[in-house]
Symmetry: C2
Subunit: 440 residues, 2 copies
Amino acid sequence: MRLSRYFLPILRDAPKEAEIVSHRLMLRAGMIRQEAAGIYAWLPLGLRVLNKISDIIREEQNRAGAIELLMPTLQLADLWRESGRYDAYGEEMLRIKDRNERDLLYGPTNEEMITEIFRAGVRSYKDLPKNLYHIQWKFRDERRPRFGVMRSREFLMKDAYSFDLDAEGAKTAYNRMFVAYLRTFERLGLKAIPMAADTGPIGGDLSHEFIILAKTGESQVFCHKDFLGFEAPDADVDFDDAAGLQAVVDKWTASYAATEEMHDEAAFGAIPAEAQVTARGIEVGHIFYFGTKYSVPMKALVTGPDGKETPVHMGSYGIGPSRVAAAAIEAGHDDAGIIWPDAIAPFRVGLINLKPGDAGVDAACEDLYAKLTASGVDVLYDDTDDRPGSKFATADLIGLPWRLVVGPKGLAAGQVELKRRAGGAAETLSPEAALTAILG
Amino acid sequence: MRLSRYFLPILRDAPKEAEIVSHRLMLRAGMIRQEAAGIYAWLPLGLRVLNKISDIIREEQNRAGAIELLMPTLQLADLWRESGRYDAYGEEMLRIKDRNERDLLYGPTNEEMITEIFRAGVRSYKDLPKNLYHIQWKFRDERRPRFGVMRSREFLMKDAYSFDLDAEGAKTAYNRMFVAYLRTFERLGLKAIPMAADTGPIGGDLSHEFIILAKTGESQVFCHKDFLGFEAPDADVDFDDAAGLQAVVDKWTASYAATEEMHDEAAFGAIPAEAQVTARGIEVGHIFYFGTKYSVPMKALVTGPDGKETPVHMGSYGIGPSRVAAAAIEAGHDDAGIIWPDAIAPFRVGLINLKPGDAGVDAACEDLYAKLTASGVDVLYDDTDDRPGSKFATADLIGLPWRLVVGPKGLAAGQVELKRRAGGAAETLSPEAALTAILG
């Protein structure tokens, strides 16, 4: 993408209303724009990040056997009356009347609707297990929306729902998502630690939050330092192997890890002092097993092997891509701007032309741009007339993993400059060597 | 995808409430499910079609230089008060109050919001032209929603907005989208004809609807038969060549083409009788040039080359992917079910195992499934225990382009059966020859 043709409304000054660093940087980098309290437009740069996050989540959901569909944003209030949550949900639910005075609501979550879809389509235990998910905008009418897309009112959520014949099957379904989440966050370039959690308004018996560590995180967390060295299972993990999945989950739940809410000072104190990690964390995923909480009142029944109808056991599994985008910035930034993990960077390379109009520099840039693009590398090519200082500031602010600079002086010596945003010195090398370094 | 693990809730009987064939077939094929009047969930099979349509639209928008972003579904009423449309829009606008009694609305279109985003980010004519688009859910509170996703209340829309310094630039921007739409519909496998149109509530001076012909179309249309032979420009069309774009538009607007609303009997009568085409049509796209209608009241100004501030000239350009899915079915079906164009079929191949459990048949199916999948072909592999008749009926209903059948009898002779859904006899051939035929 040529910057001269792109839409990247950089703000040079930090907006006053932004209280946390990710919010400040996302506004400054032209990633998002507030359209109402807690309601944001995702500008082109931000949307690229959001889509890369969603794509990784989707790939890992699919790998784990979940099936994607798409539920609408608006729901009938009657559906929530079936589960009993319509009155219970409180003021965070955005309630709407249409022109015919029917009660609708903007879905804050989808347990009811997916249960309705499931019960209409599945009759027999033979069709189980099933895991259905979607990635859709949701709305929670926070009293005081703030922190940008970290806690917005309209937010994107991947929510998956599992259906099993019994508690044992449901536990395997839960483990499947647990493992998929480990893989997802690792691929996103984030260190996420599962921590036992309260079930809150979703309800249920078993729940884990996935927390990433970030100095500027929203809450205090406590864990064993072993977690910092754990690696997620490989891509060939067998999601049909219940025992294998359980072994992974056992490993990741054997050591102490807790949010402030669930913290047990005594249990934490029992860990050797040198293994105690106290840090700031951000919740980026939450999984629940809640058995028959929705299937009983909503009559989501299947015929079991014994010919009898039985309510299905369910779980739900959420990751908020819009929140993950902000959390990744909280975990990766410096004074100059964002430092993206490679996997979710909006572009992999920022190519800077120091002297547009200089035939040699233009030609060298066009050649690098064409070769990188042809190799499937996303490039943002700064071909604008801005001053070099401004171009470097923009590059640091938007935080692309590689910065490749072409200027007349270096080029006369057959050289360009390559630098990793995440650190390390700028390297002077030939254009071919730069391509090799980027393409790995 | 193995059907045994998929979620495909086929309905054997046509639902009573569905008045048009696309609605009936989408419900029966397990593509969509109604969640409220005019509000649908897109089940896995339907979502695949919707995504394929959106992807083609996106590729052609990008090719034409449009930049993707994503605006939220909810908007502030105040924004629409700036343009004067808040009170004018009428009952189709879903008006919402949040917990703090702020007036919101579910966006039915985005001229106001994109103008607000543009004016905050662009100051100079040097940044023009710009075309910003998104693909997002919108809501129009139809008095009597019907016809399934053809006229739903919550619907998916690609809407693009162009910004230019003057009317001449805006005309080129309009032509760019006109040509992009020709390419888009041709790639979608649909014959679309541009017809001069009323501008309606969007307003403006120039407008075309893109109408596809379908026997069961919603309205009468009239055109010269030349249109049926026209081909859209190739992928290498130069979207920076204003004269070249104008030539394409001239060709596609020189002959008579009109919807019932705009029909001129005398002009149509002037066409030789043998060239007069009267048919049923479905609107699948609509483009508008409306000059400064929004930029003047909303003060979307840029500094021109003369240093003076001037309101930008705008256009907007819509295609509804959810509507296109239904329109494609209206244009392609028979008594047995849907006949998808290859480009938007949910899967390209339906592989049918006539005897699951038979080791030879299972092995042959697995081999074909693996080879097709490895070649990037989407396969829905019917590995269920259903009777062959039921499998064939499902295959016809969901309308995948290729049906590949493997049974014990044929296999004993080293043969499988291959058939195009769109017509033609079933062919008996070796598995290798079948692969060659499918992979082309």
